[in-house]
């Protein structure tokens, strides 16, 4: 036993030495680099959207660095990001945020992917007074907590599909509609649900199916069987990328006829490519679409951004990438206006942000959410086998008319 104890003591002292000699070598600004930190879901259930987010960040970092970087007190700085993989797990994300701040000495954070993870990280950044610009945490409750260092470039989750209900009511001659809804058990999707509940109340609509879907979603046949039986006017589904893919797959397999299908994450799921014609007429909420006419000097227009992104990463940018790129533009702008690396000065500059980016106008409300940009809806439309997302609402940006109702499966070729 004693020998073992000795061995153990040796082991512990070795570790102690290793830890003591490992002192934090990074700093908020290192040489010509401004170091940002981010925990991103590179593995786990959010991995595809995590990668979209990371690509968005990287694209903007490259672009800003190439175009002269960030000018603070007459000196040019470049952005650099330290990434960790949070494994799509809030526990890990909170731990990594702590690690980025305490061990890597990061003073400015970029958000993770998804509301749940942002909810886990926000208390940490708040505690250490670290400004965080996040692009993928839309849950409304993030913005009612009085967080002072949290800034979101996107619209809150409850706004995602409210417009769709308004649209359905409008098509129904202003009368309330019957809504069937199914949402994944996670912070974001449940917030989208709250938005629908509000819209239903406001328009006098009735919710006839209200299902919760498990995480790691790959089956919703039970909900669809009910939909077939009760025939609602609108079917609303939200469950990140997997939710969108599962819904289209099973709706087409089960030949579920519903006049209107509203979803989230269609573009992240590359729905129009993956499922082609089967996904036609699906209505999708989006933070951004490349056809919108916003502009900035770094990426030009949305179309130009999409083209450059396609060249760099080989696929059309979903809004998750666009908003992530925008987060960097916001940071750059704030650093330059603050003209300082003081965290509170940067934070105060972020509060006063009012700018246009290719992704949309950005101005932060009192809770930190972006109040200057509306949500849009697009509809998947096909010409032959070639399917595309076309913007149908709001009318200001609409390139196409909203097609309603969805033809029955028996009538679709």
């Amino acid at each position: 036993m004693n020998k073992i104890a000795k061995l153990f003591v040796t082991f512990i002292s070795a570790i102690t030495l290793a830890l003591v000699s490992f002192t934090s070598s990074f700093a908020k600004v290192e040489g010509e680099y401004i170091v940002l930190g981010s925990a991103i879901s590179l593995t786990g259930k959010y991995s595809s959207n995590g990668v979209h987010t990371q690509n968005g960040y990287n694209m903007a970092v490259d672009r800003i660095n190439k175009m002269g970087g960030v000018e603070v007190q007459g000196k040019k700085y470049k952005f650099e990001i330290i990434y960790y993989d949070d494994e799509s797990n809030p526990k890990r994300a909170a731990q990594l945020a702590e690690r980025l701040i305490k061990q890597d000495g990061v003073h400015y954070m970029l958000g993770p992917y998804s509301s749940g993870l942002t909810k886990a990280i926000a208390p940490v950044t708040e505690k250490y007074k670290i400004p965080m610009v996040e692009a993928n945490g839309a849950s409304r409750s993030l913005f009612t907590k009085g967080y002072k260092y949290l800034f979101a470039v996107l619209s809150p989750a409850n706004q995602y599909l409210e417009v769709a209900i308004d649209l359905a009511v409008e098509k129904n001659g202003g009368k309330g509609v019957k809504i069937a809804q199914a949402f994944e058990q996670d912070a974001f999707s449940q917030d989208v649900r709250l938005g629908i509940l509000d819209a239903a109340k406001r328009t006098g609509s009735e919710i006839i199916i209200d299902d919760k879907l498990p995480k790691e979603l790959n089956d919703m046949a039970a909900t669809l069987a009910k939909v077939k039986a009760v025939k609602p006017d609108v079917l609303v589904v939200s469950g990140h990328t997997k939710g969108a893919l599962t819904a289209i797959r099973q709706i087409s397999e089960m030949k579920v006829d519903v006049p209107m299908l509203a979803m989230t994450h269609c573009d992240a799921a590359k729905l129009s490519k993956q499922h082609g014609k089967k996904s036609e007429f699906a209505l999708c909420a989006s933070q951004w679409h490349k056809n919108l006419s916003y502009k900035d000097k770094f990426f030009g227009s949305g179309k130009k951004y999409a083209k450059d992104f396609q060249k760099e990463f080989g696929y059309d940018p979903p809004y998750q990438s666009a908003e992530s790129s925008a987060a960097l533009l916001v940071f750059k702008d704030a650093f330059e206006r603050a003209n300082s690396f003081d965290r509170d000065a940067v934070r105060d500059a972020l509060v006063d942000t009012e700018m246009q980016t290719f992704y949309g106008n950005i101005k932060f409300g009192p809770g930190g959410q972006n109040v200057a940009k509306p949500m849009i809806l697009f509809q998947v439309r096909c010409k032959g086998d070639d399917c595309e997302n076309r913007v149908v609402a709001p009318t200001k940006w609409a390139s196409d008319k909203f097609y309603h109702p969805i033809p029955k499966w028996s009538e679709r070729s």
């Binding site: 073992i4 104890a5 593995t43 449940q190």
Partner: protein, 354 residues
């Protein structure tokens, strides 16, 4: 227990001093050290069940998750309406005063120790009649079911999760929170270790071992195996619940399947750590958990995206080369250091027999 040898005394006091000094020495690593304490506690309590009693359980995560939800619920519920706290993903904000926060977490931890232990007793009564693989599979279901059920209960936040009370804002020191949770978990670790060490010197452990080695014989000897199995599991649950409660407060956000009833990670880790160190030994789980945590924190970020592949390889290596864990391996190599006497003649005879 009665005759702590001098060397042991030095070892223990050394470790305790190191533990107390750690948050000051490695200030930046406080959160990781807290995790380490919790991981060691989980590995040790799993070892009681899986190592000593031979009942491999994947269900201990149930008690950990329960502890987490209970502590947070009590901490909120004592002062504010819980339903409003969690409504709409926690939109409304209530603020705990410093006194409320600490009172809440104190009572919460008490509840999170007792309730899981009682539940372990009840479930144990129902399922500890199963043996071997049947028991393992049955407990695997427990954690998964609990996660899905918790995800549907509105009052604890359902799918939107439960934001635990933030650390009181009146305490300005940003390090205070980290220190508080570190010392809490360190105290838990010390408590658990003393308890397990006590068990190791007791008749209770011999009974657990007898159950592991041959339950039927143990029963034939007049031991009421069911009673001891249940008590054994309740001991595990008691400390698992406490560990969960502390983690909930530390993480600050409880999600039903990813944080609380996280069978895929914590549930597997606790088994892995105990096996890595050597199950059925006092120090095995401690060493296993420490090694595992360092492996995880040190290497995982270097192999972004591949860490689970590395973990898989690690599991295979452990199972193939160290089936008895590090302690078991050492014991086989240097039996005399473990106080085992080897009869050379007998050993040779056995070699010849082979």
């Amino acid at each position: 227990m009665e005759k702590l040898k001098q060397k042991d005394l030095i070892l223990y006091s050394g470790l305790i001093i190191l533990g107390l000094a750690a948050p000051y020495l490695f200030s930046a690593f406080k959160v990781q050290l807290t995790y380490l304490c919790v991981l060691i506690v989980l590995a040790m309590t799993w070892n009681l069940q899986g190592g000593e009693m031979g009942y491999n359980t994947f269900g201990n995560i149930l008690f950990y998750g329960l502890g987490m939800y209970l502590t947070a619920s009590v901490q909120v519920g004592m002062f504010f309406p819980l339903a409003e706290w969690t409504e709409s993903g926690g939109e409304k904000t209530f603020v705990h005063t410093t006194a409320q926060y600490f009172q809440g977490i104190g009572v919460g931890l008490l509840v999170s120790a007792i309730v899981p232990a009682v539940i372990a007793g009840a479930i144990g009564y129902a399922i500890l009649g199963l043996r071997g693989h049947y028991f393992a599979i049955c407990t695997l279901g427990l954690g998964i079911a609990a996660g899905e059920i918790a995800g549907g209960i509105e009052i604890i936040g359902a799918g939107q999760g439960f934001t635990t009370p933030p650390f009181p804002a009146e305490i300005v020191d940003t390090e205070a929170r980290g220190k508080f949770f570190y010392f809490l978990s360190f105290a838990l670790l010390v408590g658990t270790f003393i308890f397990v060490k006590y068990i190791y010197g007791s008749r209770f452990r011999l009974i657990l071992n007898a159950i592991r080695d041959n339950e039927d014989k143990a029963e034939a000897m007049g031991i009421q195996t069911m009673k001891y199995k249940i008590v054994g599991w309740m001991c595990s649950a008691f400390f698992c619940g406490l560990a969960g409660g502390i983690m909930g407060g530390l993480i600050g956000y409880i999600d039903s399947t990813d944080v609380a009833f996280d069978g895929r990670e914590m549930g597997v880790f606790m088994v892995l750590m105990a096996i890595l160190g050597g199950k059925g030994t006092l120090w095995g789980p401690v060493i296993g958990a420490t090694l595992f945590h360092f492996f995880k924190e040190g290497l995982w970020t270097l192999i972004l995206g591949w860490q689970y592949v590395a973990l898989g390889v690690l599991i295979v290596v452990i199972v193939v080369y160290f089936p008895e864990g590090l302690m078991g391996w050492l014991r086989e190599k240097y039996p005399e250091r473990f106080g085992e006497v080897i009869d050379e003649k007998d050993r040779k005879a056995q070699v010849e027999l082979k």
